[in-house]
Symmetry: C2
Subunit: 452 residues, 2 copies
């Protein structure tokens, strides 16, 4: 990439790696991988085929593997861990810090987990047990326990002397946390303040005493939105009493944002679970088959509605021909509304305060588009089938279905959210059922009444 | 929010603001808004109705408005700027820094823009013109020009003395950039290194000389993926010669990631352009109508295919009833594949190296699900219509359509990408056309051949 000048270490190119495997350049590849960052190797591993993945994994040195494990995407981690024997896993676990270990331990075989926990020093075992006790998706799980804290009464020169005893600060340290004697969180002292302040300054006079802290049980989503609102690099995490227990850094928040967006996108496409692009055929087929099965039920509901009008379809073949128009247009219009509302919900923009307003607006948008497209559809079907009543009926049916679609596009996600069901996944399938059923019902129903 | 303890300033609650407006508590509300951060006010403004938006905007003091303007989401900014008179805009522009001004100037009326540019000092005018010359969506547009740089030969004690002359460092300063006498970028010196190093250390010995820099013309997307891969807080931006011209910080990168994900989600729901949830009815209807119109064309293609089989539909009414099944199931299966491939493309996981492998895998998944669901559909239609041949034909048609859907799910996004068309927007509509046409064609076609 010409415009990103990165000498640090060559960015891993999938093409290069695949070529090396193909040409059996394995020693060279091994050397290259040993100088790459764990994160980049993890990114590489999700971008190549399963067979290549195994080859790369076997090329990595044992210490490199333990560095990479915490970075692996959750869906490919178990497979790679399976290829390591118990002794290797044990060694890998020993080199990980407690936070990483907590993230990956669930994928280790039970007997290994047991011996790893037993082998930990009492301190680390306690820390591990604490972290594991936090619910998944909470600030406690997201945080690192590695955090630098200072007392409020010392001066910058003391702080600097203490800092200089460190070889290196924990990564992404933009600030020190300030606590009292008992470990209660008081505020945040930015490195930027330390370097601009005079050595005699006291911590308490320079710290931001009002800097926000999150409790260990705050939800990931809340934490991410706090970071975005306040442009934070790190935030302190406290226990229920307000004692400092860790910190969350912006890189983990970026992962949360990425993951949330990714899930919303997958769900909107009918892919319910995290699925590796290169995962084996059988599990892929099974996971997606579930969704196809649910859809089949809804299709049969629509088809059953059509079946109610066999008599009409038998007499007027044009009905069968034009039938998909109303259902399909309703589906598209409803899905547009649904998408906007779901996004609005994700951004906390939708509430009972404006629900009524949104219903009215979407109905108006549906009515406007209903008028325009109903008119056009009527003209096309008039030219095709030369039947004024039929054209009128399809126009009315289309108009009705667009109104119903707009209304459903607002009400379905609101209702699902109230029932604590994720609208991103099930919203579209419910909506399509409604627009299909109403689309067929209004068109064929009106036709049965007025044309037979 | 109980678990986020934020004393700094109460988080703005939409509910509270709406209630204050409703109860005409405006003086209190004004006071509250004056202590809120610009970002939070901007977030509030997108979450309330247009009428409320106007009230809030009028409550803000002039200096507050100029702080808020750069934070406003692009789709609501022009509307709010319109409500300010030229003199107010001129004053607002004077208090903005050049980077912010470059972002918003396009929304100002022409005559104001002209006088703002003329009123700028020569230095600032030049900087503004430079920033405006960078293409939208490039690193040059994303960067801030406010950047602290030091020479490589000085010692930490000199650096510290210089830093202490600053009241405050630019926000999100995690590092100083190191340049030579002529301004060429050499590397990055982290504040963490300054505070841990001894005062005699020379910059050159402590800086990360291999820290990556991005060129002004790098694409936002590339920059974001560099930040994610390397866990950066900031990165230097250089001109074509390698001279330091600014820096990009992680908060802007978070915005880029958010925006990209948001766009992908909206597009997948058939909402092509950024649309404010509360935007007026007419523009909303027009924007969404375009998409409905495109869909109508594709529906009529499918309907035309059905029309080819009027004879068959006339003789066997069950065909009309069952017809939607094959098309709908194909649409769902194809959309699942499409979604996974589009996500893979966004993560740079899909290339010509694995395209063939992906086609084979998706075909296999399609075939497996085809077998399972074709069997089930055959049984249901057998029970319903007691016609063995009809059941056999719908099963075969469904199987064919799921294979075509899987194949299209891979090939359509690959082809679109090669043609430099965004697959997230147009992929689904093309796919649905294919699965509709093939779904109807295979079912009605086979029926015409074997049942008539």
């Amino acid at each position: 990439m010409q415009s990103i000048n990165s000498e640090k270490s060559e960015q891993i190119s999938v093409e290069r790696v695949v070529n090396d495997i193909h040409n059996n350049n394995l020693p060279l590849l091994r050397e290259f991988l040993d100088t790459s960052s764990p994160r980049e190797i993890a990114d590489l591993l999700v971008s190549i085929l399963p067979t290549q993945r195994t080859i790369i994994w076997e090329l990595l040195s044992e210490p490199k593997k333990s560095e990479v494990i915490p970075w692996l995407r959750a869906d490919i981690r178990p497979g790679l861990i399976e290829e390591m024997d118990d002794a290797q896993l044990f060694i890998a676990a020993e080199t990980m810090d407690v936070d990483d270990l907590a993230d990956v331990l669930g994928d280790f075989p039970d007997q290994v987990t047991q011996s790893i926990i037993e082998a930990l020093e009492t301190d680390n075992r306690k820390r591990l047990e604490t972290v594991l006790s936090y619910p998944e998706g909470s600030a406690g799980r997201l945080m690192r326990t590695e955090v630098l804290s200072v007392r409020k009464d010392v001066t910058f020169s003391v702080v600097l002397r203490w800092l200089r005893r460190h070889e290196k600060l924990p990564s992404l340290t933009d600030a020190l946390m300030v606590t009292d004697e008992e470990g209660y969180y008081l505020g945040k002292l930015e490195l930027a303040n330390i370097v601009t302040g005079s050595p005699e300054t006291k911590v308490i006079d320079a710290m931001v005493g009002t800097a926000e802290a999150v409790r260990f049980d705050a939800e990931e989503h809340e934490v991410a939105s706090l970071f975005e609102k306040r442009e934070l690099i790190s935030v302190a995490v406290t226990d229920a009493d307000g004692k400092l227990c860790g910190r969350i850094t912006v890189d983990d928040v970026v992962n949360v944002i990425r993951h949330e967006a990714d899930q919303a996108f997958l769900k909107s496409g009918g892919v319910a679970q995290e699925e590796d692009l290169f995962s084996p055929i059988m599990p892929s087929a099974r996971r997606r088959g579930v969704w196809l099965g649910i859809n089949l039920i809804t299709v049969f509901m629509a088809v059953w509605v059509i079946g109610l009008f066999e008599a009409a379809l038998n007499q007027i073949v044009a009905l069968a021909v034009l039938m998909p128009v109303t259902a399909s247009m309703g589906g598209i219009a409803g899905n547009q509304t649904l998408t906007l509302i779901i996004r609005g919900q994700a951004m906390d923009q939708v509430s009972r305060l404006n629900a009524l307003w949104l219903v009215r607006k979407e109905l108006a948008v549906g009515a406007l588009n209903g008028l325009v497209w109903a008119f056009l559809v009527a003209i096309v079907s008039l030219l095709w089938f030369k039947d004024t009543y039929l054209s009128l009926i399809i126009a009315i049916a289309l108009f009705i279905n667009l109104l119903v679609a707009s209304l459903s596009g607002v009400l379905i996600p609101l209702t699902l959210k109230r029932m604590k069901i994720d609208p991103a996944l099930s919203g579209a399938v419910i909506l399509t059922t409604v627009t299909d059923v109403v689309g067929f019902l209004s068109f064929l129903g009106l036709a049965s009444i007025f044309l037979l």
